[in-house]
C-alpha cells in the first residue's frame, strides 16, 4: 500500500512519508530562504536511499520548491535580482574553486575530518551569533538603531571606500559591486567543500555583511538557490546518473506546496523572529551533527557519498 518503486535509487519508498518530508522542508525553505538540503539528505539516507542519489535528487526537488518560493516572495517585492545575480556569479566562481580545494584536501587525506569540523564550527558560530543578536534586538526594541551603527562604523567606512558603488533598490542599500561578488565567491567555496547548496551561510552573510533587510534576504536567497540547483541537477544527471526523478517528483509535490505556506508564514513574522527561528534550527542541526560524531555508530561501515 502506498509504495512506489524508485528506479534510480533501486529501492521502494512510502509515498506519504516522502510527500510529508517534502512538505516539511518546503515550509522551512519558504520561511527562511534556505534550500533544506542539509535536512532532507540525511532524512532520505535514513529511509534507505543511497547517499549520492539522496543528495542529487534533493537538488532536483529544491529547483521546484525554490521556483515556487521565489515567485511567492517576488509578488511580495522581496527579491533583489541585481544582488542575486551578482551573488550568483560569485557563487559559480567560488563553487569551481571549492571543487579544486576539495581535490587538494582529498590528496592530503583527512578531508572528511576537516569538512565535518568546518561544518560543526560554522553552524555553531553562525547559529549562536544570530541567536544572541536577534534575542538582544527583540529585548531592546526601542534602541537597536542607536547601538548598531556605532559598533559597525569601521566596517561601514571600509566598504564605503570600495569602488563601483551602486544602488540596490529592492534592498534599499548602496554598496560596491565587489561586495556581493567576493562574498558570493566565499560562500561558493564553503558550499562546495561542505557539499551543500549554501543557503545556510548565504542568509547570514546577506543579513550581517551586506546589511540587507531580512525579508529581501529570504526572497533573494531563494532566487539564487534556484539557479545553483538547476546546475547541480543537470550536472549530476549527466555525469553521475544520480537524480531519481520519481523521488524528486513526490518530494516536489510536498515541497512546492510547503514553500507557499512558508512564504506566507514568513510574511507574518518579524525580521528578528525569523532570525531567531533560523538560528535555533541551525543550532539543532549543529547539535545533531555533534552527536553523530560523539556517539558510537551502529554499523562501522557506510556507503560512500552524501553530505
Amino acid at each position: 500500500m502506498f509504495h512506489l518503486y524508485l528506479p534510480i535509487a533501486g529501492n521502494s519508498v512510502n509515498i506519504l512519508l516522502i510527500f510529508g518530508l517534502g512538505g516539511l522542508v518546503g515550509i522551512l525553505s519558504g520561511i527562511f530562504g534556505v534550500g533544506g538540503g542539509f535536512l532532507m539528505t540525511p532524512l532520505l539516507i535514513m529511509i534507505g536511499i543511497p547517499p549520492t542519489i539522496a543528495a542529487a535528487s534533493d537538488s532536483n526537488q529544491i529547483v521546484g520548491a525554490s521556483t515556487s518560493g521565489t515567485l511567492a516572495h517576488y509578488k511580495m517585492g522581496n527579491v533583489d535580482f541585481k544582488m542575486g545575480i551578482l551573488l550568483l556569479i560569485g557563487g559559480v566562481i567560488g563553487g569551481t574553486l571549492g571543487v579544486q580545494v576539495i581535490k587538494v584536501l582529498r590528496q592530503m587525506g583527512n578531508a572528511d575530518f576537516l569538512i565535518k569540523i568546518t561544518y560543526v564550527l560554522m553552524l555553531g558560530f553562525v547559529g549562536s551569533y544570530m541567536f544572541i543578536e536577534s534575542l538582544q534586538a527583540l529585548k531592546k526594541k526601542e534602541t537597536p538603531a542607536i547601538a548598531a551603527p556605532q559598533k559597525q562604523s569601521k566596517y561601514a567606512k571600509l566598504i564605503g571606500k570600495l569602488p563601483w558603488q551602486t544602488d540596490f533598490e529592492k534592498s534599499g542599500i548602496r554598496l560596491s559591486m565587489l561586495m556581493p561578488l567576493v562574498l558570493g565567491t566565499f560562500v561558493g567555496i564553503l558550499a562546495a567543500i561542505m557539499g551543500v547548496g549554501g543557503g545556510f551561510i548565504m542568509v547570514p552573510v546577506m543579513v550581517y555583511l551586506l546589511r540587507m533587510p531580512m525579508h529581501v534576504v529570504v526572497g533573494t536567497s531563494l532566487f539564487q538557490i534556484l539557479f545553483t540547483c538547476v546546475n547541480v541537477t543537470i550536472m549530476q544527471s549527466y555525469s553521475n546518473h544520480t537524480v531519481d526523478f520519481i523521488l524528486a517528483l513526490i518530494l516536489l509535490l510536498g515541497s512546492t506546496l510547503g514553500a507557499q505556506f512558508g512564504a506566507k508564514i514568513s510574511k507574518k513574522l518579524k525580521g528578528d523572529q525569523l532570525k531567531i527561528l533560523l538560528a535555533s534550527l541551525v543550532l539543532i542541526v549543529m547539535v545533531k551533527m555533534l552527536l553523530d560524531l560523539l556517539l558510537t555508530p551502529h554499523i562501522m561501515l557506510a556507503l560512500k557519498g552524501g553530505h
Binding site: Y5, K75, D112, A259, L301
Partner: protein, 264 residues
C-alpha cells in the same frame, strides 16, 4: 634411495590438499522448482515472494539459497579521530562478495548449526563461509571485525538474510517428502541474474543439489525512466529541471495568486 623416500610424505600431503571432502560422485539432482522465474519490477514494486518447492529423501535436510553475482564494493570505514570523534576514516575495498545472499533452511539444519558451527563452513554455505571467502583491502583494521560489519550492513539493507528453520516440510510419500520455502526478495534487489540453489543434506554432507536461474528486470515506467536516465542523461537532466520548475509554477498558480501583492 633416501632422497626418493623424502618425496613420499610430500606427495601424500599434496594429494590430501587436492582431495575434496564432498562426495561429488554420489550427488543427486534435487527435484526443485521456483515460481516465478522472472521478477518484474514495476511502478509499485515493494519486494516480492519467491516460492521454492520440491522433493527430497525423507530423512534429509534442505537448504535454499538465492544468490547474486560476485561483486566488488568500496565502503567507508568509521573510526575515532583524535580518540573522540566518530567519522569516516578511509575506504575499505571488499572483493568476492555476492550482491545478494538469502538463505533458508529446514529445522534440522538449526540443530546442526547449534552443535557444529564448522559444519556450515565445510558445506560452503552461510555467513561464516562468506566471511572466509571475501577479500578485504584496508589500512590498519582487523579483518574479522570488518567482515562482521560488512555482513551487518548487508543484513541491515535486507540484501543478506538467514532464515533458519523456515522451510516447511509437507507430506511424505514413499521415501520422499515435499518441501516449500517462501523466499522474501527485498525491494532493494539490483537488476540482473540470480542463482536459486537447493541443497539436500545428510549427516552434514551435501548429497544432492539443484541450480536454476532467476531473472530480475524492470518493466513499465521504471524501465522507461532508467533507460532515459542512463542512455539520454543530458535530456533527462533538462527534463527533470523543467518539470520541477513547472511544478513550482503550477503550485504558485493554485496557491499563490491574489494574496501576495504589495511590497514589504
Amino acid at each position: 634411495m633416501i632422497r626418493n623416500r623424502i618425496w613420499i610424505p610430500i606427495v601424500i600431503m599434496i594429494a590430501s590438499f587436492m582431495w575434496h571432502p564432498q562426495p561429488v560422485n554420489s550427488m543427486v539432482s534435487v527435484k526443485a522448482k521456483h515460481e516465478p522465474n522472472l521478477i518484474a519490477i514495476g511502478t509499485f514494486f515493494n519486494g516480492t515472494q519467491l516460492t521454492v518447492s520440491g522433493k527430497v529423501t525423507t530423512e534429509n535436510e534442505v537448504v535454499v539459497i538465492v544468490k547474486g553475482k560476485q561483486e566488488e564494493l568500496t565502503l567507508k570505514k568509521k573510526g575515532k579521530a583524535m580518540g573522540l570523534l566518530w567519522m569516516n576514516l578511509g575506504d575499505v575495498h571488499f572483493k568476492n562478495v555476492p550482491n545478494l545472499y538469502i538463505l533458508y533452511s529446514s529445522k534440522g539444519m538449526m540443530e546442526l548449526a547449534a552443535s557444529d558451527a564448522k559444519a556450515w563452513e565445510q558445506l560452503g554455505i552461510g555467513f561464516e563461509y562468506l566471511k572466509k571467502q571475501m577479500e578485504i583491502e584496508a589500512v590498519q583494521a582487523k579483518r574479522n571485525d570488518l567482515a562482521q560489519e560488512f555482513l551487518k550492513l548487508k543484513q541491515h539493507q535486507g540484501l543478506y538474510a538467514y532464515h533458519p528453520g523456515e522451510i516447511s516440510i509437507g507430506e511424505k510419500s514413499g521415501t520422499e517428502k515435499s518441501f516449500k520455502a517462501l523466499v522474501w526478495i527485498p525491494p532493494r534487489i539490483s537488476l540482473g541474474e540470480y542463482q536459486v540453489q537447493v541443497m539436500e543434506i545428510h549427516n552434514g554432507m551435501i548429497v544432492g543439489t539443484s541450480m536454476d536461474q532467476l531473472k530480475v528486470e524492470e518493466q513499465g515506467i521504471p524501465a522507461m525512466i532508467s533507460s532515459l536516465a542512463f542512455n539520454h542523461s543530458l535530456l533527462y537532466g533538462f527534463l527533470a529541471v523543467l518539470i520541477a520548475i513547472a511544478a513550482g509554477l503550477v503550485m504558485d498558480f493554485f496557491f499563490g495568486t491574489g494574496k501576495g501583492g504589495g511590497a514589504h
